[in-house]
Symmetry: D2
Subunit: 407 residues, 4 copies
């Protein structure tokens, strides 16, 4: 790879990406463009602008954007249509944010004439893969720089020395090492590393940042109602909300009731297992609610096919293949199934759990007339079931007969 | 189908199956053999013997058996190895009991020279299918009688008249109709029908029989540790327990903490949707614990394949195909994956939820050395990741290049 | 089911459906509407009109339509985009025609105010299922009449007596029974039953009607070129052809070279196995050609996902679930994959076989630069492969290490 | 990676691996052990011994083995039980040989105290992946050396210079470059590269080495009968044959009749597409025969599940994951299905094609009594089909009703 001339850096304004910024300039003598996105991580963006300016980035090279609506509308919601969970439990909060960041990096590169993008993910994790696969899928000629895989700043001491040598301001509380590492966006907060590295030991309570401890949550349940259209939540307790506003509001309910905590050991795409603490308050509510509305509006055939496709779909997102033809194929199938997924779900929130307790829809497939224990007025002829069973049993009877004969 | 000469009836001792017993005698003039199983439903069996004798069944034709160990060991545990859930949520508590009952019905038929079996399931549900597919798969020549699909006792009044006409004792509280219908065994209790038929309305609290209301559960969490071998739970808090004893003990923990309640609308195999209230206290704990122990002992490749196969496996059990070659194929694959699934999971139980908070194993695949944020002493070369990503990206880059060119 | 008042009958003009026509009138006293479709079965349709008139059908109740273009465009081509084969070999020629016939029956019923449709399929086969599921999916209130399952004309003698009694003309060669049963349309001809019922015995040559015996085919190979757009064949040897014209032309090539014969034992949806002789000359060529054009234009990820989905898709069509949400979901995924499937395939036809010998496309993903044994000018860095392998191997090494330790 | 001390080299005796042998000695100063396997590639092995001796390998370090029986019994046959084809067409002839070679390399390394293995596969292909994943899965600490990825002998000229400098004899016909590259074993011969690199151009006839041109094959068909047990072929025309003898004999039939030629563009695991010419004469016959015997002995449920699992299974083998838990899980499922796959298949071989024309078995599931057009003596009640269809249609009718209402 020839040296990059101009690099768009995913820049948080924090110490690590500030070091990367300076390192890129020092290592390659290249121009640096910064991209700082508000994905709902809960941090002010303007300090990042100040910091970038301080580090010598030209104002026209500083991109600061609120992408929360796009994030929820075009990434989170499509994923939730699939009821996607990775390894049975993880709601993919980090995974789903990476493609959007890469998309903007590539677009800004094209807009500013940059030939490279750079990110601050390490060489041991999944995020490097997600950033880079997305970037390459969107621009096959882009250069991708992952300083953590390249430089020799392999210890905290060396990093701080580099920072000092390059006049990067170091907040007092960054002198020591954080007791664990955090990633956050509107969908979730993940924590991993350091004090969490022994999976036998319960995560200390101070790790959780996004939800109250269920034991401290209100002693009385709260009920909410979510309205759906085409598989996406559109109203909350009757009020229409934009995608980002919806997720923000559900996060608040989830936080209050201690919903969406997960302590997981997962298999990374790069081959090792890692332990993470995830908090996905609003997302956990959305998953339950979406299953609830699907339960009355989605046909069994469609629902079961979705369930079979889901693990693959979740794996693709986890592994960084959002921009792949196979993810798009699965999305086409999933979206096709959501045409009539509309109606309302009533949920009970209480001390860490969320449960569907009611659901109704103009598009409901539930037929009280068919299922009733009472007289069904001829809607269903029980004698049909005898034939249904007999024909389904035929191959099993032929088998049993063969196996008996065979021995 | 020619008339049966001798019928083995799945007999609970209750009013409905007592009516069936008499109806079989009256309708076919056939000899009736009763089979009453203790599956952990929490009822005494001896009254069923008395009742059968009272209804004229010969002592040698009364079979009363405690099958709890077989039920858990040969049906529940194999199913939990798969992390089986139907439509994302249902733990298949009713479905998994049916094949065992059919197996014993067929075996008793063969032992007693009976040519038919009979069950008390209605023509609208899944249970008729499960009973009958299992019976036919085990004996292709057996006759199966499903009185609810055949007789004209189509109202409560007619049933009671028939009972009175045949001197069947009617308990006072059976004069009126139950407000909902219940099925129970060691794994779960399900409730459906009548007051539960409107899926928009929250289930009344009196429906729940197996678990305390989470709001009434203890205000402090409780921790337990479950030890696994080959994918099955074998110790609880360090004490070795038989399969049935394990599930019984976990049920007690679950009951106390209000764990395992589910309000679900599901798609029946016979085509309509129905609403059920399920309580699976111990099973809910087992599912979480099994995922927990798999998370450190099961390779990602095996784990993901299992996740992809699971919905099909669950569907087969739900639909009654336990004794089918495809379920056996899937079981062979699943069991193969469990060879090293051993170790201990620590769980926190609190007001309706159960969460893994720690897990450890001599067979752990989790490598702190590989995953650590600290110096890993060369266990992992971050530069390898660059090649890994480049090669994974190649096809995406060729695609992007083609698509750009193509337009 | 209440008696039908007006029935739309799938009418071929042959003896059997003429008997059905009269039986419907006699049994139900209902008005009969006939629908005769040209699906490319190679028979004149006008005699069917004459026959219907002779049997007393009013002219406005006789529907005769050439649906060949619709058949190929909306049913055959979408199915071939999936490379659908049932049980590894069968190209679904009969299965794919049924939904179209049902669709027109239902539409004609709605147009003529009929409350029922009727078909001539027997109670042992798959076709009854396909006709009826399609009809119910398109009109949930339609009545479906399947005379073969209902009447008592259970022998050849009784059928002929009924025909004579109702003045149905009987062609001389229909007095005796046919040595096997045939179904044909533009995609294929199937033969089954009678002389074919012993699967151990080779099918006699006179069974084949649609293809020359490969031994009698030309001694020199012939080459053709098929051009594709969005996964569908659109040109043959450079000439643009409509869907039906394309299939007709390919059938002629296939017939000449003895291509597309298949002797198969298959598992029917109704549970038993049956033996069929299928001739699918043009379809066999299309399958090979489609795989050929996909091989250079479809990404590996999309191609492999398609291969995994295909058996389910084929099963759905075979079982009669064309009009089901899950088939539509799969179709959405498949169609999504075909956006860039265009270009040309060169095929060699010779004595029963068809093979791709060349393929090219403006949308090709094949990169000689990447794959070459020669100098690739840096397109591919072989060192990347080392990292790719190392990371892919990591979990396997952790496993091997664990298993070694474990024992 | 520290320098290897003793390396086991997969050694063919040819020029390339002889250069590798010397390069390993020169580069690492390490001891070299050679392993030369007879996989049925059709070359004498003793010259490889001579050559190794000539190049200075100690006699005790020269391993020459006939592994044909193990290859067919433990690798080819298990794979054929799955009807494995990659991308619809490729019978995986090269892929399936690699794990066996790696297994012996690792075993010999352990027996001789070597700390590394080496192979002659290039950095652009799949074989490097297959060799190395297998080696790492069997010994997580083994070093793997892939000289083609490491050295600077990047042109034919440099290779020949190196050979001359190290006194490696160069056969006259190796001075020039081969017009394409070949891999062969008892299952297949593959040819790729150079003259084959343009996928638009038909492969020249001289590429084919293993089969006669169909046009030159006998003008009369030949029939053979293959007997199966537990899914493996065990007799040919009534004669019991060992696995390798079976495949050898079928290869001869296939060669004679021009069977098993394939011209394919495939998606490599390393990301690019490549074009290969494959000849798999015996394997092509075995695939058809296995499907033939399964067609009467395998239940539909098992058969369809196998078909759905197959693409994944084939992909795993293609990608080099033979020794992975997921391949072993799938194998367990597949092998479970084969317990009753026994009987005989009759095949017709003619000018490039092989077709099943008859099959019979004591374990047949085909029931003439059930399928017959004649009177079936009550084996099947056609009225059952009505109920079967009605129940299957119920969800589609509820859907149609909902969709009508919905709009």
């Amino acid at each position: 790879m020839s040296a990059p001339k101009k690099v768009v850096l995913a820049y948080s304004g924090g110490l690590d990406t500030s070091i990367i910024l300076k390192w890129l300039q020092a290592e390659y003598g290249c121009e640096v463009v910064t991209f700082t996105a508000d994905l709902g991580q809960g941090e002010e963006l303007e300090p990042a602008r100040k910091k970038a300016e301080l580090l010598g980035i030209k104002p026209e090279n500083i991109f600061i954007e609120d992408v929360r609506e796009e994030f929820v509308r075009d990434f989170v919601f499509p994923m939730f249509r699939a009821n996607a969970v990775y390894e049975g439990l993880y709601l993919l909060g980090t995974s789903i944010a990476r493609p959007l960041i890469s998309k903007r990096l590539v677009e800004i590169a094209e807009a500013t004439g940059a030939d490279a993008v750079a990110h601050g993910a390490t060489g041991k994790g999944n995020d490097q893969v997600r950033f880079e696969l997305s970037a390459y899928a969107l621009n096959p000629d882009i250069k991708v720089i992952a300083p953590w895989r390249e430089w020799d700043l392999t210890s905290r001491t060396k990093l701080l020395e580099f920072a000092e040598a390059h006049q990067i301001p170091i907040a007092k509380d960054k002198r020591g090492e954080a007791p664990f590492s955090v990633d956050a966006n509107l969908l979730h907060t993940s924590s991993e590393g350091k004090v969490l590295e022994d999976p036998a030991v319960e995560a200390p309570d101070f790790v959780y940042q996004r939800t109250v401890n269920p034991e401290d949550a209100p002693d009385t349940p709260e009920y909410i109602e979510i309205g759906y259209e085409k598989g996406d939540p559109v109203t909350l307790n009757g009020e229409a909300l934009s995608p980002a506003a919806m997720l923000t509001a559900l996060n608040e309910y989830g936080r209050t009731h201690g919903i969406g905590r997960l302590d997981l050991v997962e298999g990374r795409f790069v081959g090792m297992k890692s332990r993470g603490i995830y908090e996905t308050p609003g997302g956990t509510i959305m998953l339950e609610a979406h299953r609830g509305i699907e339960s009355i509006t989605l046909d069994r055939g469609a629902a079961h096919l979705k369930d079979e496709l889901m693990p693959r779909y979740a794996e693709l997102i986890y592994n960084g293949f959002w921009y792949s033809p196979e993810r798009e194929m699965l999305q086409a199938a999933i979206d096709k199934s959501q045409e009539h997924v509309e109606g309302t779900v009533r949920l009970k929130l209480y001390k860490g759990s969320v449960q569907t307790v009611g659901r109704w829809s103009d598009k409901s497939l539930y037929s009280e007339q068919h299922v009733t224990f009472e007289d069904d007025a001829g809607a269903y002829d029980q004698k049909d079931a005898a034939g249904f069973i007999k024909i389904n049993a035929l191959r099993l009877r032929l088998l049993a007969d063969r196996n008996r004969r065979g021995s």
